[in-house]
Every structure is written in C-alpha cells, then in structure tokens.
Amino acid sequence: MAVVLVLVAIAVGSVLFHILSPWWWTPIASNWSYIDHTLVITFWITGAVFVAVVLFLAYCVWRFRHDPGRRAAYEPENRRLEGGLAAGTALGVVVMLAPGLFVWHQFITVPPGAAQVEVVGQQWLWSFRLPGADGKLGRAETRDVSPDNALGIDKADASALDDIVIEGGELHLPVGKPVKVLLRSIDVLHNFYVPEFRAKMDMIPGMVTYFWLTPTRTGTFDVLCAELCGVGHSVMRGTVVVDTEADYQVWLSEQPTFTQLQAQAEPEGLPVPAEMAQAPGER
C-alpha cells in the first residue's frame, strides 16, 4: 500500500509544488509574453497527462495487486484502444505545437522598422555597438580586431565611422521600440541572455546571429552568458538599461563614436576585462 500512497503523493505533491512554491519566472520586460503563454499552456497539458498516468498507475497497483488466487487477464492486443490513445496523443501534440510554431514565426521575423544594436562577446566581457547618425552599422570582422580596435570595425567603411562603441559598459535601449539585436563573438561561443527578455541566442565567431524584441518596461536588467565559454563563463555579466525615450537620448549623446575612440586610442593593447586578472582558479 505504501507504493499506492507514494504514487498519489507524487502526483498531488508535484501539482501543489507547482502552484505553491515561490519559484517562478522573473516578471517579463519584453513583448514575448506569447512565449510565457505557450509555456503555461504546456505546463497544464503536460501536468494533466502526468497526473493522469501516475494516478492510473496508483490505481492499478491498488486494484490489481497480487493476492493468492488472483490471475491476470490475457489480452495481447486491443487495436481500438491503442488507436484511440495514439490519436488522442497526436491531438494534444498538435495543440501544443501549433501555437509554438506560430510564435516561433514571430520570433524570427524582425519587424521592418526595428532599430539595430550589436552585441559583441569576448572572454568574458560584453561590448556593444549602435549605429550612429546614419542609422547603419558599419562592417566589422574578427580579422580586423587589433589593440586599438577591439570590435574589429572596418575603418575603410564610411558608415562605420559614426558607430557608437561601448566597450564593457552598459547597453541602453529605449522602451517600446522594436530592436534587432545582432550578435557577434570574436573568440568562442557565448550567449546573450537577459532573463526578463525571455529571448536568447548563441553568439558564434565568424557569424552574425540575431533575435529581436520590444522592451516593454523601463528598468535595469542583468545580462548573463548562457553558453559555456571557458573558465570565466559564470562571471561574464553585463547590464542592460531600458530607458524612456528622453533618458535614452541623453545617454546616447554621451557615448563616444568610433572615430572619437580612434583619436584617443591607447597603444598599450586591447582593454583586458577586469575579471581576467582574477579569473577564478589560478592559471
């Protein structure tokens, strides 16, 4: 009987834990509440299946437990039952998959007017680049990275000269404006992850990846790295600030352009991330 009670306790306990425990996602700050909704639908469908299966097991153990004289039924197959269950499962799968694919389509379709920002990862530092007055990001390549050009921006590209470059600082975004986040890495894989945005994507050296979002509330949010990138992975942190349009313009006007940075370039070498010197573990 212990088995029956434990099985029931697992079914009931899991649901209660889900409802009562304090651990849930952090409040969303982007337009991707669709993702949250799909997740909640999935929770309820799968939760119902889980409870049903476990309770059915409990019932079987309780009802058909061995006692002297019992003999099991002999029923090799039951086509109708098997077919019905398969069809029901297929239906449940469709109910979850359809909204999922629908939202995925939105997720990968950037709205036409979206602004662009670039996030560049390197061990273990976040840098950012915004298009300057011309609204265009200039070309950039890992091969062009040098001590005075940490992001590898192509000096020959005219549209690059007014780009705004933020090495290791905060990224600001205006609230309510769709933005396409272009992702680049100059060394290993990283992943730009802001829990409140729900979106994330790997950054790959040699490629530009992207996702898009519309920030929906102002605030300051942590940036974490969500792809193992070496021993400093867990200390690769940054900050995104979502501003009102006015605050954003003030901040923007204070940032240096690529040309200005070049003018005051220090010859010593690449800015080395602070964490590196005291990266966990002696090396």
Binding site: Y74, P76, Q123
Partner: protein
Amino acid sequence: MVDASHDGNDLITPAAVEDVELYHPHSWWTRYVFSQDAKVIAIQYACTAIAIGLVALVLSWLMRIQLAFPGVLPFIDADRYYQFITMHGMIMVIYLLTALFLGGFGNYLIPLMVGARDMVFPYANMLSYWLYLLAVVVLVASFFTPGGPTGAGWTLYPPQAILANTPGGQQWGIILMLVSLIIFVIGFTMGGLNYVVTVLQGRTRGMTLMRLPLTVWGIFTATVMALLAFPALFVACVMMLFDRLAGTSFFMPAIVEMGEQLKHGGGSPIMFQHLFWFFGHPEVYIVALPAFGIVSDLISTHARKNIFGYRMMVWAIVIIGALSFVVWAHHMYVSGMNPYFGFFFATTTLIIAVPTAIKVYNWALTLWRGNIHLTLPMLFSLAFIVTFVNGGLTGLFLGNVVVDVPLSDTMFVVAHFHMVMGVAPILVIFGAIYHWYPKVTGRMLNEAMGQLHFWITFLGAYLIFFPMHYVGLVGVPRRYYEIGETSFVPASVHDLNVFITVVALIVGAAQMMFLFNLVWSLRHGREAGGNPWRATTLEWQTPQTPPVHGNWGKELPIVYRWAYDYSVPGAAEDFIPQNQPGTLGVTREAVA
C-alpha cells in the same frame, strides 16, 4: 482481437546450419580474463562501467556541494568545477550507461534470450571489451596529466574546447578525451556488429523476430542506431584532434584570443554541433531503448501478464529509432543555425512524442487487470514510468522551439535530461540487476537492503530533479560555477539548492549500500534456483544456473511461442516458457 502470440511460424523448420563448436578455454586466464564467453564479457563490461560510474557519482557530489555551499571546499575552483561537470556528464552517458546497457546487458542477454550458444564473433567481442577498458584508462589518465581533464562541457563545443581558457584545452585534457572517445567507438563497433549479427543470424529454431522478447528488440535497435550514430562522433573527434594538434581549421574560424589573432580561420563551430548532436540525440535513445525493452519484460513478468500490444511496442521501438535521426537540431534552437530549421525540428521532435507515449500507455495497460507482485524489479519499473513520464513531458517544453528559448541552457534543461536519460534508465538498470542477478549468480539479492535502496533512490532522485526545473525557470543558467549576485534570483533559491544537495548526498550513499548488497549476496544471498520469477523467456530455461559456457548443454532450445504467455487461460501454471510446445492458451483458431 488479433493474436500476436502465434504468428504462423509455428512449424519448426530443421536447423539451417549445424550447431557449431565453441572455442574452449584452456586456462584460468582464457576462461576469466581474456574470455570469449559473452557472459564473462558482460560481467567485465558491467564491473568496469560501474567502477567508472562511481567516479562520476563522486564528481556529482562535489558539484552539488559547490552549488549549495560555494567555496566550502576550497579545492573546487572554477577550473575544477568545469572539469567535474565535463567528466561527470561524459562518463555517465557514454562510459556508464551506453557500456552497461549494450556491453553489459546486451552481451549477457542477447545470446541467452535468442537461444544462441554465444555471440557470433566471440573473438571480436572480447576485443571490444578490452578496447572499452583502454578507453576508460585513457579517460582516467587525463585526471593525472598536467592541467587535468578537459573542462569543455560534455558537448566539447569548439572553439573553446581547444583553447587556453578552458581547462585542458591547450594541455592534455582534451586530447585524451578525444582519443578515449575514438577508442570507445572502435571498441563499440566490434561489439555492436556482434549484437546485430547475433540477433539476425544466431536465433534458435522457432525464434522468429516477432517472438523476440522486447529486451532484445530494444538492445538490437539501440545497437543499430549506435552503429549509425557513433561514426558522426568519431569523425567529429578526429577533426577536432586535427584542429588541436595539426593546426587545421575544421571548426575554427578567425579568433582573437585575449588580444592575439590565432592562426585559424574559415572553420565552422556550428558544423561540430551538427555532427555532435547527430550522434548526441540518437545517443539519448541508445540509452533509452534498451531501458524501454527491459522494463517491458520486467513489468510483464512481475505483473504475470502479457505485455500489452506487443507488435505496437516493437514498431514503436523501431519508429522511435528511425525518427531520432531527424530531430538532432532540437539541441540547437538557440545555437544560431538557420532559424527556419526550427519549424522542421520542432515538428519531428513532437512527432516522436506519439510512439513514445504509446509505449507508456502500453506499460500502464499491462498492469491493468494484471496480478502485480511488488517485487524489487516491479518497484523499479513503476519508478521508471513515473520519472520517464515526468522527464518526457518536460521534453515537450524544450522540443517546442519557442518555449525552449527562455529555458535552454538553464537548470531546467539539466533537470529534464537527468530525469529522462539519467534517473529513468538507471532505475531500469537497478530493476534489471535485481531481476537477473539470480541468473548470473544463482542467488537472490538481499530484499531488505533492496527495499531501502529502492525507496531512497526513487524518492531522492525525484526530490533532487523535480524542484530543479524551477531553479531553471527562475533563470539560473546551467554550467555556472556560482550564480553570485543577480537581480532576479531570490535568496530562497539558495535554500532549495542546499536541500537538493543534501538529498543528492543521501542518494549517493544509498548506492554504496547497493554495491555492498551486490557483493554480500554473492555468498549470503538466498539460493535462487533456475527460474525464481517463473518467467517465460529462454534465459530462465537454461540447464544450469548460472549458465555455463555454451549456455544450453547438448541441444539448443526450440521456441514454440512468443515471450509473453503469462496467465494463459486454461494453463496449469501462470506462465508457459517459450520452449514449451503445445496449443494451450490462445490458439490461432480460437481468435481467427
């Protein structure tokens, strides 16, 4: 109702080939060490796998201690943490589970269950084990090299896997890991070909494919998959070795490492991920399908009832095996691959849910109107269903591309895959050991220790991994040496981490008791007799227990029926062994 128990092949054909003479060992060395007997090889595989598995278990303790009490063990710095993660993951998946299911259970059970005297290529089978052992030795050696083992994560993603800021990246660690995997694949191929050919060619008279126990179907299909999937891992390892040692750039684009341009360029890190997961996803099922098969037989035997929907179960295994080759990129939704792949891979992934669910229904329906003996194998089977269903359902989150976006690379993923491919298969392994130990040794495992082991392991594992999903939901990424200060992780998550760690330590300790039981019962266990569970399959019908070299004495058994004639109406006993002739039970005429 259609009858699956008799399939029209009831006429026993004369033997197609003469019974062959086996190699006869002449000394203690060739009998017990360089043995060609699949049963001895199976035990060698199993003992080696369990031994290296213990290393992985201890590593999991150390990681859990670091996560709950950061810094309390000063020798666990970030380097070591990542090394522990990597070795733990790789050992558990490849060197423990794959080796134990295929090399261990496959070797022991295939020849016995199909009614063969041994594997068809005994010598290659022996080599397979020794190569596996060599692979393990090379793997362990990396702990003792300068720089230690690799800390690249078990996925070994380049570029970081072979760069200096990853432990072992520019030292020995990654090289030994790749070499060890290469040796493992070579060794596995020798064993794997054996298992496949033995199932196809070594069956005794009357053992048609549709009379094979599901255990054999599971192991057979998993082996075919492994033979197709491991080559992808093999070439990925060879290519990465070239990148690391010869300066090629298969996976290495232009890179600036700590301010310096590396001499690489033009390679594709994503290509490695495709190769890795083309192996890595089928690998999940290479572990799962033997578990599916074994658990089917455990449930049927201990519920004294035929497995429900046998043919559906066989087809489900085969279909899952086939489909699992077209879902690999669901591990790469946020990898930066072409986002349109997401539609395809989400669809295929969710389609797999259907045959998988059918298997679950059929296990449950086997219990329905059964005669359920709550033996240890049955308890572990029930526990398997619970954990597998739980882990399988969270797979629907991660497979459904857009839902995966917030969850991927968080502790939710860690909780999911531990539930579904860590805990669930391990529970089957335990159930299987309690089930077949009497055949292997002639003695039963101690029941009291077994009960304690069961309850701690089942409930403990659930308590570890169920709440862990919510740590991921909060947003804690996986592979984090420490989460440190954030604005979104409440302090209570830390208490949860402490709880999980405490339970993990207890669960680990219970495994020590299990190992003790294995040794203790060798001498002190109750005598089992030849067929203590009153089971139908051939391995329980051997003339000697434990079976001797050659398995069957003078005459090979002849098979007259499927593996699931339990509680046949009208039969005197509640089971009819496969090698027992007669028309009792549901004859073909009765159901036509």
